[in-house]
Every structure is written in structure tokens, then in C-alpha cells.
């Protein structure tokens, strides 16, 4: 029997159990109308074919890992390798959350025609999490400074920077299950993972990280099925006019949510974690996301009555400064991260100025300050010199300095007697609609206000085995590494910045 015949036969095996109600069986309900949908799974993957495909992929990938463990090939670039401590830490968490989301969707809302595809996707996400943990393990064993790779999983749970991704996936996992599909399969997997896993795999290869390049490509080969799952789900929804306004709401929210999380990560990785450059992060995003996804996919949904995402203009204009603003945050707050930093130099500045005219005028002063604060004997922390950390957005968890500090329009909304900071119109829109989903999250200041910075670092656990040297260092090869005592000597106490202007609930 060929796959197409088997697919039809399996659909005929669907039955409704008599011992529980439909509601009890579904566990959760959805506000979308999908009950009568008869979608088509273009991949028609069954367990037998799935195992055959994944075995093929794993044999190819793990052969490389095995060879790489035994053979010393070229030395990877330290800028890339150190940054991947932060990068991989976040990826593992996102993949694991996606697995949980897919299990939930298969259990609750998937029509029989898609259920198999959803369940395969759940297994894929577990596979990806394992693949990334294996890269972390490999790098921990082979990279010259394993500190940081050894606590990547823990750091995913407590790093302030990882909060950007944690907040997004936790929002995703707890949304309406069909909305989860739109956020995960349409925006993350169709719009952004191509750029991340395929586009950045070239950068990994160019910087000598063959393991990461292979990992990214083998992951994205699964994402190809997930993209098809997304379109199959969406196409089933589009067949019922009652769904159009619900889809529009989800599109407005998740286009912005993923722009602020995956989009921010893409921009940072593509511009600041690389040394050998071809395209800028803005160019990559314009090509992979704006042209391929929004032009080649989303635009063709407008005939169903969908409009462009509500904050698309801001998403595009943000690209001018987004990577640089993210870097100011990541590099400026280096002690509360867990890798060595490679500060940008003249060659980087020249390239940025060419790709982002006006770069040095806006960001040059930060880099001058950064480079003047690298020596622990100077007792100068760039974080303190520049006035401390800003507020963080209650929705996206980014600092409220986007798209660029002088252009940012932070604002606050009160809820239950407490003010919550928001970074943008997009995050304010999301907060206004479902504030209760976001107010439970504790900000960096809720956790660490009033603490001296070395106490914060100790509490985070980002200290090397000697119990006194920081994992993070502001340069790749420092003359002497920063210790907790050095940080303490700088006398920086975490202080909550003043609130931005309060806006009224009645005036969106």
C-alpha cells in the first residue's frame, strides 16, 4: 500500500469514544471554528516513514559529531563560539516548549487529518532539544573555555536575557491551542526559522562550527514539515468566515510577539555574533521574512479578508537599529550573562556604518565607553558608567529602549494598583487585550532591586569553579579575569529606574 492510500485508510479509523464526552476528550476548547474542517496534510507522514526519515537524518548528523569528537579539524572562531553559550541556551528552551505545545495541540484540537503530523512535530521538537543539548555537550568537551556551556540549561531558566524567549514561549504554550498553531507554525516556523536555521547555518560553517551548522540544517529539515502543518491548519480555518477576525487578532499579536523575540535574536546573532560578514541582519530579515514570508505567503491570504499585521510598519522600521540596540543591552549588562564577549572594533564599525548609515553617530559612544571599562583593575563597569539598566517591558521582556534609545516611547499601564512598563505600541496593544496573562511575571527589579551586582551574579550562579571568577568576561582574552571582588569594588547596586509616563486605560 502506498502512503497516499495509507493516509486515507488511517483517517477512516477515527472514532469517538463512548466512555467520555467530547469535552472531556478534548481537555481544552478553542474559540476557533475547526470542528468541521477537513484539512490535507501534504507530508502524510506515518510512524514508519517518520522513523526512516529521522534515522537517515540522525545517521548523517551524528556521524559528523563522532568524527568531530575524534579529529581536531579547524579552530572555530571564538566570537561565535562564546556567543553560542547564550544562543544555544535559549534554543533548547524554545524547542522543549514547542514540544509541549504540540502535544497539547494534538491532544486537544487537531482534526484527524493533521493529528499524525502534529504528533510527529512533537517528536521533532524533542529531537531538536536533544540535538542542541548534544551540541552543548560537544562544545563543553572540546571548546577551550567550557564555562557557560556547562550551565546553559540552568541559564535558560534564570538569565534576564533569556526572559525574552521564555516569556514568548510561555505565552505560546498557554494560549488558545489554535492560536498556538498560528504563533508557532506560522510565525516562528514559517516566517523566522528559515532565516535562523538555514541563513545562520552559513555563518556557523564560515566560523568553523560545523556541529552547529549541521544541527541547524537537520533541524530545519523537520521545520519544513512544520511549515506544512501550519498552512494545513490555517487553510482549514480560512474555510470558515467566522474565523477571519479571530485569525486577524492572532496574526496581529504573534507577528509582533515573534518580531520581538525570534526577530530580536536573529538580528543580534546575525550582526554581532559573527566576524565574517556577507549580509547584514536587516538584509537577511528583509529577504527571508519580509519578502519570502510576508510577500510570498502572507500577502496571498489578504484575498480571504486578512489585513497586513497591525504593527508591520514598526516591524520594518525597527530593523534599522534593532541589532545595535540589542547589543547595547547584551554587552552593557555583560556581568549578568555567562560568556566571554568580543567587543566590536574598527572593522565592525566600518561594516555597520556601510549597512546602517548613522550607526557610529548613535552607537559609537557606547562602544567607546565599553572599551574603556574592560580592565578589572580600572574598577569601571560600563553598566554603571551609562546609568544602569533601563526598565523592562512586561510583555516582551526586552529593555524599553527599542528601536533606539532616543526613539523609544516607553509607557506604563496600571493594573491592580501596580504600574507595568511597556516598550511599544505593539506590546501595549497585547497587554491591553489580556493584561492578566502578563502581570504575574516578575521583572529583573522585582528579583534583584537593592542588591549589589556581585550578589546578583552569585545568585544567578554565573561563577566559575573557583567560586570567585565570573563566567562572563568583557573580552575574549583578558589580561586578568573579572572576579566577584572586582565587581563588588565597582559599587553598583541594582536600582529601579523611574517609571515611564503612565497612560490611561481609556486612551489606547
Amino acid at each position: 500500500m502506498n502512503i497516499s492510500q495509507a493516509y486515507d485508510r488511517v483517517k477512516d479509523l477515527e472514532w469517538e469514544p463512548s466512555y467520555i464526552t467530547a469535552e472531556e476528550k478534548a481537555v481544552e476548547s478553542t474559540r476557533f471554528h475547526i470542528e468541521n474542517a477537513r484539512p490535507n496534510d501534504p507530508f502524510k507522514t506515518f510512524v514508519r516513514e517518520y522513523c526512516e526519515q529521522e534515522l537517515e537524518k540522525d545517521e548523517r548528523h551524528y556521524a559528523l559529531l563522532e568524527a568531530s569528537s575524534r579529529l581536531s579539524t579547524r579552530e572555530p572562531d571564538p566570537r561565535w563560539m562564546e556567543a553560542m553559550k547564550f544562543g544555544l541556551s535559549n534554543l533548547v528552551g524554545v524547542e522543549y516548549a514547542a514540544a509541549r505545545a504540540m502535544g497539547r495541540m494534538a491532544r486537544t484540537v487537531a482534526p484527524v487529518a493533521l493529528r499524525q503530523g502534529y504528533m510527529m512535530q512533537m517528536l521533532d521538537e524533542m529531537r531538536h532539544s536533544n540535538l542542541e543539548m548534544n551540541v552543548i555537550r560537544h562544545h563543553m568537551r572540546t571548546w577551550r573555555d567550557p564555562a557557560g556551556y556547562d550551565l546553559a540549561a540552568k541559564a535558560n531558566a534564570n538569565s534576564v536575557g533569556s526572559g525574552i524567549f521564555r516569556s514568548m514561549v510561555e505565552d505560546l504554550m498557554t494560549s488558545d491551542p489554535v492560536e498556538t498553531s498560528i504563533g508557532l507554525q506560522v510565525f516562528i516556523e514559517t516566517a523566522y526559522t528559515n532565516l535562523f536555521f538555514v541563513g545562520l547555518s552559513s555563518a556557523a560553517a564560515a566560523h568553523g562550527d560545523d556541529m552547529m551548522a549541521s544541527t541547524m540544517m537537520t533541524i530545519q529539515s523537520d521545520e519544513a514539515r512544520h511549515m506544512a502543518n501550519g498552512w494545513a491548519t490555517l487553510s482549514a480555518l480560512l474555510g470558515d468566515d467566522r474565523n477571519i477576525p479571530l485569525i486577524q487578532d492572532a496574526m496581529d499579536k504573534w507577528s509582533w510577539r515573534i518580531h520581538c523575540s525570534f526577530g530580536t535574536g536573529n538580528m543580534l546573532f546575525s550582526d554581532y555574533f559573527v566576524r565574517q560578514r556577507s549580509e547584514s541582519a536587516k538584509e537577511m530579515t528583509m529577504r527571508w521574512v519580509m519578502e519570502d514570508f510576508y510577500g510570498g505567503f502572507y500577502q496571498k491570504l489578504e484575498q480571504f479578508g486578512l489585513r497586513p499585521p497591525k504593527f508591520l510598519d514598526e516591524m520594518i522600521s525597527d530593523l534599522d537599529w534593532m541589532s545595535h540596540t540589542t547589543a547595547v543591552y547584551l554587552f552593557g549588562a555583560w556581568p549578568v550573562f555567562f560568556h566571554r564577549y568580543d567587543g566590536m572594533g574598527p572593522e565592525d564599525f566600518e561594516w555597520f556604518e556601510k549597512k546602517y548609515p548613522g550607526f557610529y553617530r548613535h552607537f559609537g559612544p557606547f562602544w567607546e565607553a565599553y572599551h574603556s571599562c574592560k580592565d578589572p583593575d580600572e574598577r569601571k563597569l560600563v553598566l554603571k558608567e551609562l546609568g544602569g539598566l533601563p526598565n523592562f517591558c512586561q510583555v516582551c521582556q526586552r529593555p524599553t529602549i527599542f528601536p533606539r534609545q532616543d526613539l523609544a516611547r516607553p509607557r506604563a499601564l496600571e493594573r491592580g494598583g501596580k504600574a507595568y512598563c511597556l516598550c511599544s505600541d505593539g506590546c501595549e496593544h497585547i497587554f491591553r487585550r489580556e493584561a492578566d496573562r502578563y502581570i504575574g511575571s516578575k521583572s529583573f527589579y522585582d528579583l534583584y532591586e537593592g542588591m549589589e551586582l556581585s550578589e546578583v551574579v552569585r545568585k544567578l550562579g554565573y561563577v566559575r569553579d573557583d567560586g570567585r571568577t565570573l563566567m562572563a568576561q568583557p573580552e575574549l582574552e583578558p589580561r586578568r579575569m573579572w572576579t566577584l571582588a572586582d565587581i563588588s569594588a565597582c559599587g553598583y547596586v541594582v536600582e529601579r529606574p523611574p517609571l515611564p509616563p503612565l497612560v490611561d486605560w481609556g486612551v489606547p
Binding site: 526519515q53 537517515e56 564560515a206 541547524m216 540544517m217 480560512l238 510576508y294 480571504f304
Partner: protein, 105 residues
């Protein structure tokens, strides 16, 4: 508000390696106007307004051994367009959903 401009680009990104190179060469012969670009870790096959039809029998002929959809999906990193996976071929078409029947684009 920016208006989105649609396009009819169709593409397949294949993992770099012998299979990817053989498939890219075969498709370049078969698809007029196909753009093939080597990105070190992957090979990009792109065309505007036409189908990319990957025939496993033809690929197997070029490779010199029987080739399957499962093996092909192990080297297909990603695609752009509307994909249909069959028993012995994989076709990527221009994404062009029909409002009258969105489930069958």
C-alpha cells in the same frame, strides 16, 4: 500602513553535499530559469512562477542508486511555496491559495 507586495518565488534549500549537488545539477537541466546558489552549508534552488518537481526515479538515475522520498526529505532543509509529498516525487508549487477552496491550493 505599508502595503505588502506579493511574489511567486518558489525555492528549495538543499543541504550541501554530494546528493544536494547532483539534485541541483539535475534540476538546473530540467527547470528553465532556475537559479542555483551555493551558500556553503546549503544550496539554494530558486525559480519564479514555476513548479519544482523532484522525481525520485530521475534523481536515483543520476546518483546511481535507488532514491526515495525519505532520503530526499533528509536533504531538503526547507522550501518556499506549496509542497506536496507523494510516494515517488515531491513537488513545490507557487503558493497560490484558492479562496473558494483554501484547503486545496
Amino acid at each position: 500602513m505599508i502595503e505588502l507586495t506579493g511574489n511567486d518565488l518558489v525555492s528549495a534549500k538543499l543541504m550541501a553535499g554530494e546528493e544536494g549537488e547532483v539534485i541541483a545539477a539535475l534540476m538546473a537541466e530540467r527547470v528553465a530559469g532556475l537559479m542555483v546558489t551555493d551558500h556553503e552549508s546549503y544550496i539554494d534552488l530558486s525559480a519564479v512562477g514555476c513548479d519544482l518537481d523532484f522525481d525520485m526515479a530521475a534523481i536515483g538515475e543520476e546518483l546511481g542508486f535507488p532514491y526515495s522520498v525519505s532520503r530526499f526529505l533528509a536533504v531538503l532543509a526547507t522550501y518556499k511555496g506549496d509542497i506536496e509529498v507523494g510516494d515517488d516525487r515531491v513537488v513545490i508549487r507557487v503558493f497560490s491559495p484558492d479562496p473558494a477552496n483554501p484547503r486545496l491550493p
